[in-house]
């Protein structure tokens, strides 16, 4: 699908947070301009009133410390720090690549797919997946301890399309067959834990989705 005369596609990202602050600052610039126009109209004698910039300069010329200035000064520093940090923050990546450069999905969607695949195994009653940067951890509640290998194999296959390989780990909680598993398990259930691993495909930060 790639065309030789165009640049490669970029990873989908959220807009830089500076965009939102930039919009507020833009409105601030327009407000400063509006005040200047207001003062110019008064200077021209078209209307009467107080020139706001002139009043502000004269007030500053007689400035002395007041208690409220503590609040204003601290607020200025805090807001200033937020603005400086947001101007330096990188764009947040929202998706990870699957199959090729023009198809993307979220880590949460990979987790949902893994849980759905795990639930297709007969003995599995519950499945819950966490997808991190390099690992997908599937926690299953099952009546058959041997289900772990089948789940690992199926989930590895299901997530094999991701561009960066994921290591698939299955953590198993075995419950007695007689338990009404569809209503879930409680902490008092007798259970044994086992795990198995496989290799699939990759991610960037931890996302957890119960599915």
């Amino acid at each position: 699908m790639s065309r030789t005369n165009v640049k490669s596609l970029k990873t989908p990202t959220a807009l830089p947070s500076a965009v939102y602050y930039g919009t507020i600052i833009a409105i601030g610039f327009l407000a400063l301009a509006a005040i200047a126009v207001h003062d110019l109209i008064i200077e021209a004698g078209w209307i009467s009133g107080t020139e706001w910039y002139a009043a502000a300069f004269r007030w500053f010329g007689h400035i002395s410390w007041s208690t409220w200035m503590w609040v204003a000064a601290i607020a200025l520093v805090v807001v200033g720090l937020i603005l400086v940090c947001s101007s330096l923050l990188l764009r947040r990546r929202t998706h990870v690549g699957i199959y090729d450069e023009w198809t993307w999905t979220r880590r949460g969607d990979l987790a949902r797919r893994a849980s759905a695949v795990a639930r297709t195994v007969d003995s599995v009653h519950k499945a819950h997946t966490v997808v991190g940067r390099r690992r997908a951890t599937v926690r299953i509640v099952t009546t058959d301890a041997a289900a772990s290998d089948e789940v690992s194999s199926k989930v590895t296959q299901a997530l094999s399309g991701t561009v960066k390989p994921l290591k698939v780990t299955v953590k198993t909680r075995v419950i007695p067959v007689t338990t009404d598993a569809h209503h879930g398990t409680s902490d008092s259930d007798t259970s044994t834990g086992t795990s198995s691993t496989g290799t699939g495909t990759g991610t960037e930060h931890t996302t957890e989705v119960s599915a």
Partner: protein, 191 residues
């Protein structure tokens, strides 16, 4: 948002933020008797501020603030309100006698409709955008988690091929975001 406008936007936000920190810190330092700041505050000619509005250049300063404020404000707003707006496509066959154009969002809608008609797909929506100098039709596809990525990707490849055939000379390319429905009774979180 492309790199140029994004960088300018970041620069403006940085300068405004740094100015606020300097003013706030100077005020705190002034009251805290920090000697370095106190020395500089002592050198500040407050009388200049009292007499500045009566100076002959005051009107021109107001004109400057008005012009710079309007130019910067409108420019920043234009950049930030629709930061990824895609340009209108100019089609082959345009000449001095007339220009053939195509709104990229119409292309996006057609692709979304085609994909949404597939039985594996729950819904699809698309928009044309310019992401860091890449002209894209970004299609967000929603499917059930029981549907395999392979089946979804097969549908998307068909749509991508149709776009390539329809607009072979254009730099407009598809970008598909595949989202899966969450289970109704589940909670999800990101950490």
């Amino acid at each position: 948002m492309n790199h140029g406008p994004a960088a300018f936007n970041r620069l403006i936000v940085f300068i405004v933020g740094a100015a606020m920190i300097v003013v706030g810190a100077a005020a705190i330092g002034w009251k805290s008797n920090a000697s370095w700041i106190h020395d500089r505050m002592q050198r500040l000619d407050l009388n200049w501020f009292r007499t500045a509005p009566d100076s002959s250049w005051w009107v021109w300063a107001l004109v400057g603030v008005a012009v710079i404020g309007v130019v910067l404000g409108i420019w920043l707003l234009a950049v930030n309100v629709r930061p990824q707006r895609a340009r209108t496509l100019s089609l082959p066959g345009s000449n001095a006698g007339g220009k053939l154009t195509l709104a990229p969002n119409k292309v996006a809608d057609a692709i979304a409709d085609e994909i949404a008609a597939a039985p594996e797909i729950t819904s699809a929506k698309a928009r044309a955008l310019d992401d860091r100098k890449r002209e894209l039709v970004q299609v967000t596809v929603v499917a059930a988690p029981e549907v395999s990525y392979d089946d979804i990707i097969a549908r998307l490849r068909e749509a991508a091929e149709n776009l390539r055939v329809a607009l072979p000379d254009e730099s407009l390319r598809p970008r598909f975001l595949v989202h899966l429905d969450g289970a109704r009774d589940s909670a999800s979180r990101v950490r």
